[in-house]
């Protein structure tokens, strides 16, 4: 499985729906999708990782980079997942303290 990146909107947020594996080969596609959204004026981004099978430090770096991009515009980038294996990666790296992580897209959009 490769990585599919779908862009949409939900409420007043931009939604990035990811499916597949995020690693050193596929992470540049995620980076570009985030850059495209931010350059298109998005400041509120929800990244749905519920269908992500694999995430590595390259992918985490891209998410951190995305968070930096929206923060300078007083925006937000939040994560959606209930998967233990993904949550564990955020926990080990301490990034669970940096990102807002929600159990559903609706919860992410409702949070502010």
């Amino acid at each position: 499985m490769d990585l599919d990146v779908e862009t949409g909107t939900v409420g007043d947020a931009s939604l990035l729906s990811l499916r597949g594996e995020i690693d050193v080969y596929t992470a540049p596609r995620l980076r570009q999708a985030i850059i495209d959204l931010v350059e298109g004026g998005a400041t509120r981004i929800v990244v749905d990782m519920e269908k992500v099978d694999f995430l590595d430090s390259t992918g985490l770096g891209v998410l951190v980079g995305g968070l930096k991009r929206v923060r300078v515009k007083d925006g937000s980038l939040s994560i959606v997942t209930t998967q233990d294996k993904i949550l564990k990666i955020f926990d080990i790296t301490g990034l669970s303290r940096v990102f807002d992580i929600h159990p559903s897209v609706d919860a992410a959009v409702a949070a502010e």
Binding site: E21, D23, V24, Y25, F54, L55, D56, S57, T58, L60, G61, V64, G65, L67, K68, K85, I89, I92, T93, G94, L95, R97, V98
Partner: protein
């Protein structure tokens, strides 16, 4: 679990040897191949997930190092001893500074200076034992041990 399991694989215990070009698209193949070997030994799902990520991180480091160097292949060796998987990922470049093993990433939510520094801390958090050894004839070897069953071995 005796120290012998940490000391190194006997030749007879080696069950998998991989050599692949130092290009990003090959990292996925490497982690899935090592994961398939772990499943052959009935590794728990959580162990397979940890193994895939640890192997992937080590291979990504090696791909980056070797691609900057002479383009030497990345070499992965897996042995199974005493209920543990012993994975060596060798790179041929200038190697990894072993002092990085002691490095904790700076988690400053305002600065984010650690984007490239998450790999070794992540590996350390996933495996039961991690060593960085000098490579032959050069480079370094990231050696990782994971118990096949869930939970930490004694």
């Amino acid at each position: 679990m005796s120290d012998a399991a940490v000391a190194g694989p006997e030749v007879d215990d080696t069950e998998l040897e991989l050599a692949f070009p130092p290009r990003p698209e090959y990292v996925r193949m490497a982690r899935h191949t090592v994961a398939a070997l772990a499943r052959l030994h009935d590794a728990a799902d959580e162990v397979v997930d940890d193994l895939k990520l640890a192997v992937s991180e080590a291979c990504t480091n090696a791909v980056s190092t070797n691609a900057r160097g002479g383009g030497d292949p990345v070499r992965v060796t897996v042995a199974v001893t005493d209920g543990s998987l012993l994975v060596d990922v060798a790179n041929a470049g200038p190697g990894i500074d072993p002092s990085l093993l002691e490095h904790d990433p700076e988690l400053d939510s305002e600065e984010f200076t650690f984007e490239r520094g998450l790999s070794l801390p992540l590996i350390r958090g996933l495996v039961d034992h991690l060593e960085i050894l000098p490579g032959e004839p050069n480079g370094s070897v990231v050696r990782m041990r994971l118990a096949l069953a869930e939970g930490q071995p004694e």
